[in-house]
């Protein structure tokens, strides 16, 4: 039996609903229809009254989740696409994220964002929004890159007493498979060395992990050993693991599918430059999507975001510095 990343998300939600009566799911088309991507397939039937279709009202969806959380519930909100979480930003950033700080009452809500690009999805169905959410205090931001993490981190997200932004990558939904669900997991906030190497560190997360791994594989054929760090969680960020890797390799390339300005890659570089400047043998580099809206046509899209090919080019350049 094998299981996709998407099925792992569905299974995690089924387990959360089964294990904890305080969990419910709220989002557009999540009920009988099973969600736009089928991440809640059959859950409405298996858990009657606990998987609720919402009107197209992202602000009110999150507001209601906050109210239910105050009353002791642990709602999961499904945004149909990460891009559509923007109408809910006010409730997420100004209400959910401030509630505990202001009142001492925790706000344990999980907001699932089907994130990132797939071919042909265009400007409004492709966005990676983790940096916006990570910028605001009071939120945990997760970006699982593997089937195992999609499952275990979603269960962790529901269990955490704070609002969690769960960025699940749509490209990985069907492309990524695992033999079975994991029985154990790394702690939240801990990055993982996805591939060891001594010449250069690539820090990546979500779908970019796989582009980075492909790049590392290609360069291994040329005798270059690249270490790949999977951040897993954007916030909190595991600076120690990044720093330890840079200490081994002396070179850093951070790859993100999101836009460059003030993003996760910029944060990683800032941390390494401020805290580990003496570990570096060359200026730290980043590779992000181009600073334009995300294009529709596959030809344009193929060069808009980083790919294994552009990562290889950036890594070669960095090794020459």
């Amino acid at each position: 039996m094998s299981l996709t990343y998407l099925e792992a998300i569905r299974e995690a939600q089924a387990k959360a609903l089964a294990d904890d009566p305080r969990v419910f799911i709220y989002g557009q088309d999540v009920g009988a229809f099973g969600g736009a991507f089928k991440a809640t397939k059959n859950l409405a039937k298996e858990f009657p009254g606990r998987v609720l279709d919402a009107p197209i009202s992202e602000d009110a969806m999150v507001g209601a989740a906050i109210g239910a959380a105050i009353e002791g519930f642990r709602p999961i909100v499904e945004m149909q696409f990460a891009d559509f979480s923007t109408p809910g930003l006010n409730q997420i950033l100004n209400h959910a994220a401030t509630l505990y700080w202001r009142t001492n009452v925790p706000c344990p809500i999980t907001i699932r964002l089907p994130s990132g690009g797939t071919s042909g999805s265009g400007p409004f169905h492709s966005q990676s929004m983790e940096a916006i959410y990570a910028h605001y205090p009071g939120l945990i931001v997760m970006t699982p890159a593997t089937v195992e993490d999609a499952y275990s981190m979603l269960l962790e997200a529901v269990a955490i007493d704070d609002p969690v932004i769960f960025c699940e990558h749509k490209y990985l939904y069907y492309h990524l498979k695992a033999a079975a669900l994991p029985t154990e997991a790394m702690p939240v906030g801990k990055a993982r060395i996805a591939r060891t190497g001594r010449d250069l560190t690539i820090v990546a997360y979500s779908a970019m992990l796989h582009e980075a791994l492909a790049a590392a594989e290609e360069m291994a054929g040329e005798g270059t050993e690249i270490e790949v760090v999977d951040l897993r969680t954007i916030k909190p960020m595991d600076t120690d693991t990044i720093m330890a890797s840079v200490a081994r390799t002396g070179r850093l390339l951070c790859v993100g599918e999101a836009w460059p300005w003030g993003g996760v890659a910029a944060e990683v570089l800032a941390r390494v430059a401020t805290e580990g400047f003496d570990l570096l043998d060359a200026p730290p580099q980043r590779l992000n999507a181009k600073d334009t809206p995300i294009p529709y046509h596959p030809n344009l899209w193929s060069v808009h975001r980083p790919t294994a090919r552009s990562i290889v080019a950036a890594a070669r350049n960095l090794l020459r510095m």
């Binding site: 009107p55 009110a60 209601a64 109210g67 239910a68 994220a97 505990y100 009142t103 344990p108 909190p236």
Partner: protein, 348 residues
Amino acid sequence: MLQTVESREQPDVVSSFREQYLKAFRLMLLSRVLDEKMASLYRGGKIHGGVFLGRGQEALSVSVGLSLRKGDIFAPLIRDGAGRLAFGEPVLDAVRTYLGSALGPMRGRDGNVHHGRPREGLFPMISHLGAMISTVNGALLARRFLKQEGAVGATCIGDGGTSTGAFHEALNQAAVEKLPLVLVVANNHYAYSTPNSREFACRDLADKAIGYGVTAHKVDGTDLEKCLHTLNEVVAQARGGSGPQLVVAQLLRLCGHGEHDDAHYISAQLKQSRLGRDCLKVAEDHVLRRAWADAAAIQRFREEAALEIEQAVAQVQREAAPDPYKENWCALASRHLSERFETPNSGP
């Protein structure tokens, strides 16, 4: 779907209504005295940030608070000091929040009108208008999951707040879920300085209700008797399973948006109209006319209110302010997941 509520004149009902009216009147008085004290502290430079009064809106606000009971949910807005006291919020919570006491419910982390006790059903507002409506909806959904039917959630907003997307989304959501929500709109005719004519184009805000499939109620917000009758009835309807209720009250704010604002933009014509009446004076005249209390008793009420506020302020002024060096600076309940961003020591 517009309903008006008439008072019933049965003797026991009249007697209990008299009690409720007197209670409401005394809470309005307390709220007014509290407001005036906060304004005076503000003018004396003792309060940081703004001070926002409920002057002119106490009759409506107190009626919302008094119509609710323990176990209900109340998300008050900026001018709901009277409603908060009526719902049971201690005077100290308001004073401590304005003065930033470390012992207050917000511990100096949030101020002025932003206070509450979420776990006791009193939700502290965020500044973004309309946001509290769907939050109350969610709490009511939770009660439904728990099969705790019979609880009502009430929240207040102004005429300006009805223009937000959050208002629309949340009222629609409440209607779709048939929640026992009471949404009270205090139409004080100005959103800060913006008049109704630049805020909406419908004839009456109550007309919005039918578009959402909810029941509307209109009330004169300067008349405590009418406000109490309306809110008592409306809350009972919500509690009885009639779904969301929209109450639209006409009144005027008899002060600036905040104490920094002289409210010169409020039209003289409106001020001289029935809406410009001071609801507290109207209530006092009503009490005297019905001989529910005499002038001496009302004077005593006033003195007791002043004493209570003075004592609360004196107590809070002796309390410690929050200490920035003892603050944990952690926005997360999961303390172990917080990050530290201080610049590391560079060392010798």
